[in-house]
């Protein structure tokens, strides 16, 4: 941790000194329009960066802060002010067709400073690029395209954070490539990386919970299963229709041998996801949706508390209702938005009763957002949520009003 902070400090001081010694006019700002059409796999580079003079690195980042007041079944914790995260990007073009990008996230509530992405990209051909380092497994779209300022909602989608592990990254290597043909784009990614462990079915959430594996930092050094997690994705985009992505992530997740001695059966994890996004012509309505299915090998002698099947997803509809100069900002936009969410953490039936297992959630979240610039969003949402426990008892009902700001810098 100290090393990380020292490195960051050195980078920032170097940038500051470099800036102090040069004409500010030399600061080159890449004001990437985060709404522009590209594949989700491009999200890591589709960010605004600032280059300082001839310094070989470009810097960027974003932050998210919220206020919320939520209550469940009449019980509220009152007003909550939350600084969710600040993320720093450091990108560098090392040489011709050799790039490096890193993403470092600070989450004060989690007391966590984490490297989410730090990979070297080597382009051999547009259809064949090598990537190695700390890679972000391309399962679904949100995992790669999760920057706060890109979304009209203060919360990340529940299925993508509480069922799939959002910002799930691992040490690994792989290939990716893209092909363009007039209106068509095709992209693929394929990685072998470190992966999950037993915590996905043995955790304090009392459910099969893939995000539990994020707490295991040992995966960056030693994998629990000793077998690679494979992640692959193909995506196709037509500029007038939209983008659809199909992805898979799977492998053996548990520690089945130790010191060469077999201590458990091998158990697999398989995740399938589909994502889609489009912008309707004329109305400019932006729709993005994602759905995932998870199959986890859970021992039959363990508890059905931990499901072997999960599914869930979300759909966002964003409708710009006003785009004009507002309060001195050119082309500022006001959007109306609504998110629909569903997660079933335990798909199946109880052995004892042959009745459906609950552990599911529904949520609808209308909202309004104001974007003075594409990279900055001020947003307000109202969440209505219903959640059933494992036994399908009457659901608990939650309502939350949220206000937040998020911006690239």
């Amino acid at each position: 941790m100290k090393k990380l902070i020292t490195t960051l400090t050195v980078i920032l001081i170097t940038c500051y000194i470099a800036e102090a010694q040069i004409d500010p006019k030399l600061l080159k700002k890449s004001t990437s329009d985060t709404a522009k059409k590209s594949l989700n796999m491009d999200a890591v580079y589709e960010r605004p960066f600032i280059a300082v003079g001839k310094l070989p690195v470009a810097l960027g980042g974003y932050m998210e802060a919220n206020w919320q007041h939520s209550g469940t079944d009449g019980v509220s914790e009152g007003h909550q002010f939350q600084f969710r995260r600040m993320t720093l990007f450091v990108a560098s073009t090392i040489g011709k067709r050799i790039k490096f990008l890193s993403e470092i996230e600070f989450e004060p509530a989690e007391k966590e400073i984490a490297i989410e992405f730090a990979a070297l990209d080597l382009e051999l051909h547009p259809l064949l690029n090598l990537r190695g380092g700390m890679i972000m497994n391309p399962i679904g779209a949100f995992n790669q395209n999760h920057d706060g300022p890109k979304w009209e909602f203060t919360d990340r989608p529940i299925a993508m954070t509480q069922m799939l592990p959002a910002t799930w990254s691992n040490a690994g290597f792989g290939i990716y490539g893209k092909h363009y043909n007039t209106n068509w784009m095709f992209g693929y990614e394929l990685y072998a990386s470190s992966g999950f462990d037993n915590s996905i079915i043995a955790n304090r959430e009392n459910k099969t919970f893939l995000p539990a594996a994020k707490e295991n930092s040992e995966r960056f050094e030693e994998m629990a299963s000793g077998e690679p997690l494979l992640t692959g994705k193909i995506a196709v985009r037509h500029n007038k229709i939209g983008e659809i992505g199909l992805s898979y992530m799977g492998g053996i997740y548990n520690k089945w041998q130790d010191d060469g001695i077999v201590i458990d059966d091998k158990r697999r994890l398989d995740v399938f996801a589909i994502d889609f996004n489009t912008t309707l012509p004329k109305l400019n309505t932006f729709i993005t949706a994602e759905w995932a299915w998870i199959n986890v090998g859970v021992p039959a002698t363990y508890s059905q508390q931990f499901g072997n099947k999960q599914q869930g997803g979300f759909a966002d509809i964003v409708q710009p209702i006003l785009k004009r100069n507002m309060l001195g900002w050119q082309n500022a936009v006001i959007n109306l938005a609504c998110r629909f969410e569903y997660v079933d953490w335990n798909v199946g039936k109880f052995k004892e009763t042959d009745e459906n297992i609950g552990d599911e959630l529904w949520s609808i979240m209308p909202g309004i957002s104001f974007r003075p610039r594409p990279q900055t969003v001020i947003r307000a949402n109202y969440r209505i949520q219903s959640q059933r426990d494992l036994l399908s008892n009457p659901p608990s009902r939650t309502a939350a009003i949220q206000f937040g700001v998020s911006t690239y810098f």
Partner: protein
């Protein structure tokens, strides 16, 4: 001017939202519709202990790293008692190995409780060949503090082991030995070194401390300083939960409120209450008991309505599973408290799973499964008119 107006409108809207946000959330259910929650009048210190116990009971999920198992039934207290209500067949536990009051002959083979689940990489326990068994659905927790404070003298006053009043109903206490860590109640009445137990389907647990320590150990596989013997290895190991946490959970159980009867003024409910007396249900399901002294004001020297006598009764061969505990016979069961019965479906997945093993799927079916000493009441119930049956069921659902 227009800009200023926009800013003023925005600020005004913001203030309105801030002021009204607490009213935008879902309303709290009525207190009478919930089983959980503390008794009234706890001191601040008691409220803190209650909350600490609440968190340990409902939120503390055990994992292999924190001591779960190796073999177990559930991963947390709350798994079996959703909302402090009755349990579900999913968390119904199995006990085996004792056929009479001479004790359990299968203790050396893992008795009395079956841990039917195991952490990954291990095999769960199996019922040994030749052992009889019974399944127990987890009971509701509410009001247990009141029941703990009923004096032994009051329990003995309700007992009629020789049926001296010739009403066909006896009622006997379950006497048992106390574990080393249990201190007898001040009101305890000893009999040849044994004490009246009152909790559990067979009244085999003496106090809430006894019950809690057993449940941590036998249900979750968690050892404590009170009971350090691991259920899998049967060896003493280091405590996997702090003594403070066990004590907090015991306090939480003691301070849970008693269920509140609903629709008390409904004439049909009142009629059902009279039918309940008329067909002698109240002979065992005693409507009113009283507590002794307690440091918790709301529990101290009060009357309450649990609808139990805390005694064992012969329930007939239909409910005789061939397994027992303590000095109870295999066909004897402790009268379960009926309070909270109408809210059972809120914790049992939307339907009833009644009787000791959840075999009855309705209150009517549960009544019809009564045998032994309760045969007379069951027959009277069968002879009731439809209106009378409906009134009785409505009364029971109001509890």
């Amino acid at each position: 001017m227009k800009k200023a107006l926009l800013i003023v409108l925005f600020l005004l809207g913001f203030v309105v939202v801030i002021q009204s946000c607490s009213k935008l959330g879902p309303a709290a259910p009525k207190d009478e519709d919930l089983l959980d929650g503390p008794v009234e009048g706890l001191t601040n210190e008691q409220s803190r202990r209650f909350l600490a116990g609440d968190v340990a009971f409902n939120d503390e999920v055990f994992t292999p790293e924190t001591g779960l198992g190796t073999v177990f039934v559930a991963t947390s207290c709350g798994s079996c008692h959703a909302g402090d209500g009755k349990g579900h067949p999913f968390t119904t536990l199995t006990r085996f190995g004792q056929i009479d009051e001479t004790g359990n002959k299968f203790l050396h083979q893992g008795g009395p409780q079956l841990q039917n689940r195991a952490i990954p990489g291990y095999m769960p326990e199996q019922i040994p060949f030749g052992a009889t068994f019974s399944k127990f659905t987890p009971p509701a927790n509410t009001g247990l503090g009141f029941l703990e404070l009923v004096s032994d003298a009051d329990i003995l006053a309700m007992a009629d082991p020789n049926d001296n009043d010739n009403d066909g109903i006896s009622g006997i206490p379950n006497y048992g030995n106390l574990p080393d860590y249990v201190v007898p109640f001040a009101h305890a009445i000893e009999k040849t070194g044994k004490y009246i137990h009152r909790f559990g389907k067979k009244a085999a647990a003496y106090s809430l401390l006894h019950q809690t320590v057993n449940a941590y150990n036998q249900d979750i596989g968690i050892t404590s300083s009170y009971d350090p013997v691991d259920v899998y290895t049967r060896l003493a190991i280091d405590p996997e939960i702090s003594t403070q946490t066990v004590n907090d959970v015991v306090f939480y159980l003691q301070a849970l409120k008693a269920p509140i009867q609903r629709q008390q003024n409904d004439p049909e409910v009142q009629n059902g209450r009279m039918i309940f007396d008329r067909i002698n249900c109240s002979t065992c399901h005693k409507p009113t008991l009283k507590t002794g002294a307690s440091s918790i004001t709301a529990l101290s020297n009060v009357t309450f309505q649990p609808y139990t006598d805390l005694l064992l009764h012969d329930m007939g061969p239909g409910l005789d599973d061939g397994y027992t505990e303590g000095t109870a016979k295999t066909f004897e069961w402790r009268t379960p408290a009926l309070w909270g019965l109408g809210l059972s479906t809120n914790s049992q997945g939307g339907q009833y799973h009644l009787m000791h093993d959840g075999r009855a799927k309705s209150i009517e079916e549960a009544i019809q499964l009564h045998g032994g000493e309760s045969t007379g009441s069951r027959n009277k119930f069968i002879q009731l008119s439809t209106l009378e049956k409906n009134a009785l069921i409505k009364f029971l659902k109001s509890l």
